[in-house]
């Protein structure tokens, strides 16, 4: 089993980068889990939705924290950013990272607002079509930005890993 850990790499930033990517996968999975739960109107689904919203908020926060940690390595003198600029791969840096870093931020406030809505509505959730529609649309917006950030992050890593 420990052989698999070697796939992560042994560089100073490899573990942080792997945790960042792993948390991103958990975040996306939590969003998809929440979409399934919001489409289902049963009380059990509402419980799943509440759990999903907490996982979304926590994983989003931790993904951003780890993103900041590896961003320091990305911007360092011998990091990926100068390499991309030196090799004139403008769009990889501008779209791949500059846009990605902001797109990734969208998930956290949206996840918090979704969780807040679910816990505030509580038993009134089943009486409010508005709340269900709002959470559904917000989940899709959050998935759009998170998935975009995930794809762009993978593209930058493919060009040059941290």
């Amino acid at each position: 089993m420990f052989e698999y850990f070697k796939l992560i790499g042994s560089g100073p930033n490899d573990l942080s980068a792997a945790i960042h990517g792993g948390l991103g996968i958990i975040l996306l999975a939590a969003f998809i889990w929440a979409v399934e739960a919001v489409l289902n109107k049963s009380p059990e689904a509402f419980k799943r939705l509440k759990i999903g919203s907490i996982v979304m908020a926590v994983s989003s926060f931790l993904t951003i924290i780890y993103g900041n940690i590896i961003y320091i390595a990305y911007r360092a003198k011998d990091g990926v950013q100068p390499w991309l600029k030196d090799n004139n791969i403008y769009w990889f840096h501008t779209l791949g990272m500059e846009f990605k870093e902001f797109a990734a931020l969208f998930s956290f406030p949206l996840a918090i607002a979704i969780a807040y809505t679910l816990f505030t509505m509580s038993e009134d959730w089943f009486k409010s079509d508005w709340a269900r529609k709002t959470v559904k649309i917000s989940l899709f917006i959050a998935i759009f930005f998170t998935f975009g950030a995930f794809i762009l992050g993978a593209a930058v890593t493919k060009a040059k890993a941290i």
Binding site: I64, N68, Y71, I72, R75, A76, T94, L95, E98, F99, E101, F102, A103, L105, F106, P109, L110, I112, A113, Y116, T117, T120, M121, S122, D124, K127, S128, W130, A131, T134, I137, S138, I141, F145
Partner: protein, 129 residues
């Protein structure tokens, strides 16, 4: 007869109270999304201001650099979180309990979120710079 009337009026009164409670909770939820939209828009505005004033080494870029390693991105995150929470507190105090349509508040929240998304998209930023 009078008992039936009393029970009916109580049921109607409970229904009104329930509807009001649901709407109060909906408005509270909509406010949370509106505050999130304001926080996100503040990130994009700070980013645009940095691009318009000389980038990383300009006055806004320097001001936003709270952490040397992370650069101006650190300030954008910190200040946007502040805007988000302050906006949430102010909006909650001023809008809660008042007769607002949650759908109308939410429409503004969507506009702010979409505007924030567009304003951090590099081809859109290049239109201003």
């Amino acid at each position: 007869m009078s008992n039936t009337v009393t029970t009916e009026s109580r049921t109607a009164s409970n229904r009104v109270t329930n509807t009001v409670t649901v709407q109060v909770r909906e408005v509270k939820s909509a406010i949370a999304f509106l505050a999130a939209g304001l926080g996100l828009l503040s990130v994009s505005i700070l980013n645009l201001l940095q691009s318009l004033t000389g980038g990383l080494k300009g006055p806004v870029g320097t001001f936003l650099t709270l952490h040397q390693g992370i650069g101006p991105y650190s300030g954008k995150q910190v200040f946007s979180v502040l805007v988000w929470f302050i906006a949430w507190a102010v909006l909650k105090k001023s809008l809660s309990g008042k007769d607002f349509e949650p759908a109308k508040i939410m429409r503004w929240a969507y506009i702010l979120i979409v505007a924030a998304g567009l304003l951090v998209f590099p081809p859109v930023i290049e239109l201003f710079v």
